[in-house]
């Protein structure tokens, strides 16, 4: 932390009693940064898995297999219409409780899947369900002539998706995808409930020790708004980079 920042917040504390301990106390600052890093890690991993799940689901829903379509549709509706927090509790407590524990090499025992792991599984499945719907809508919005043209050129189903549908559908559904990924980043705060040391959890530890709830709350809100802003900025840049002249989504 630069010296002038420390001096400024020390002065703020002395003069007005506003204790921004994350800027003045090295230990609190470190805990906060660790929490921020965990949140970013959780968000990035979940974004990757949820997009993969979304693509797999959209592939199944557009496919010829009745079973595949049914599985994908039940998955989407089940995860879209139940509370994310209860889903997380279900995975972490109910399913995590059923799994065996393994030795940690130091005589203790620990669960096979950590809290972080369950958060990744739960949030990826949740956001993935929304992504299936988003990608499906994007694929449906691709003009039918494109599909017919590809088929008449002898494209198989995979080639059709890979070279025609996916590139066009992605451009069509970018706004909805951005929206869902922003929601995903916001949802990572739920990992607080299963004691994953992400940003909200780390911050709550700081404010319960230092008793500076008000100040930390403002830092927390500012950091989350900034995180979302960075994600939106990246997605908009990507959307612009993908823009095809003449193709109006």
């Amino acid at each position: 932390m630069p010296a002038f920042v420390v001096r400024f917040f020390t002065w703020l504390n002395d003069a007005y009693g506003l204790n921004f301990s994350v800027f003045t106390d090295a230990y609190d600052g470190q805990r906060f940064l660790l929490g921020l890093w965990t949140t970013i890690e959780l968000s990035v991993v979940c974004i990757v898995f949820s997009v993969l799940l979304g693509m797999a689901g959209a592939w199944l829903i557009g496919g010829p297999s009745r079973l595949g379509r049914a599985v994908a549709r039940v998955y989407v509706q089940a995860f879209r219409n139940t509370p994310p927090l209860v889903q997380l509790a279900f995975f972490y407590f109910a399913i995590g409780g059923l799994l065996p524990q393994i030795g940690d090499g130091a005589g203790g025992r620990e669960p096979i899947v950590s809290g972080f792991g369950w958060a990744v599984i739960s949030f990826s499945l949740l956001a993935g369900a929304f992504n299936v719907e988003i990608f499906r809508a994007g694929i449906e919005a691709v003009p039918g002539e494109m599909v017919e043209a590809a088929e008449s050129l002898g494209y198989g189903r995979f080639q059709l998706y890979r070279y025609v549908l996916a590139p066009l559908a992605l451009r069509i559904c970018m706004p909805a995808l951005t929206n869902n990924l922003v929601n995903l980043v916001k949802t990572t705060t739920l990992a607080y409930a299963i004691a994953v040391p992400e940003l909200l959890y780390a911050t709550s530890q700081i404010w319960s020790e230092v008793l500076n709830v008000r100040e930390m709350m403002y830092v927390l809100l500012a950091v989350y708004i900034a995180l979302v802003a960075v994600l939106v900025w990246l997605m908009e840049r990507w959307e612009r980079a993908l823009r095809l002249p003449g193709f109006v989504a």
Partner: protein, 270 residues
Amino acid sequence: MTDLPVLYPPRPVVARTATSWPWLLAAALALLATAAWGQGGARQTTILEALLRWGPLIFGGFLFNVVTSVLSMALGTALGAPLGLMLIARRRLPRGVGWSLTQFFRNAPWLVLLFYVMFLLPFELHIGGVTIPLPDWAKAVLGLSLPVAANVAEIVRGGLQSIPEAQWSAAEGLAFGPFQTIRLVILPQALRRMLPPWMNLYAILTMATTLISIVGIQDGLTITRAAIAAEARPDLMLPLYLYLLLLFFAYCYPIALITQALERRLVVRG
């Protein structure tokens, strides 16, 4: 080369979602039954007993979630509608203020906003000589209504802006003032378009009400966890959590279906 897709006979278009809802419920019930049955023959009855014993209590907690969601939605709509009007104001100042508030409350995580309201509001308010008590549930309703208000504002803005500009000009030509135009010309048309996203938001809010269990209010999730703790039986977790998930599903899925149906009707009417 006989497997080219163009050579296939055209596939009949199957109507979707219309039949899937009872089917889904049956699948979920089957899952629950399997979970109950899968625990082994000797314990089969005890799991059923546990569901019978705790089911009504958990349902009561779930009803509390529903009540919370209705109150938050009402408050959020009351706060969000004027905010939405600010977003389309002609003058810069209200538009800027409205935009900042909407962006802030839409992009902050719901849980953080809930923490904010729960921890930083006093337990009673003194206005003049009157003391208004603020119980935890009231603060929770307020905390949940803030992000709802911001989302309602966006829905209102989108709905009002979807009405063609000519309608505004026509009303102006007939000497309607801005509020008359909105009330008599724009709203009757825009409300119909706002309804589906508003209902969608309500379903999202209902599912988000479980967050109040984190800040220490007794809702469906709290009672489910208390039931599991009271029984001290880890194998009860699966059926009890599934039961709670099913309650929410049975409430939110019909809302989603109605929303979809309304949206489809809108598309047809253009």
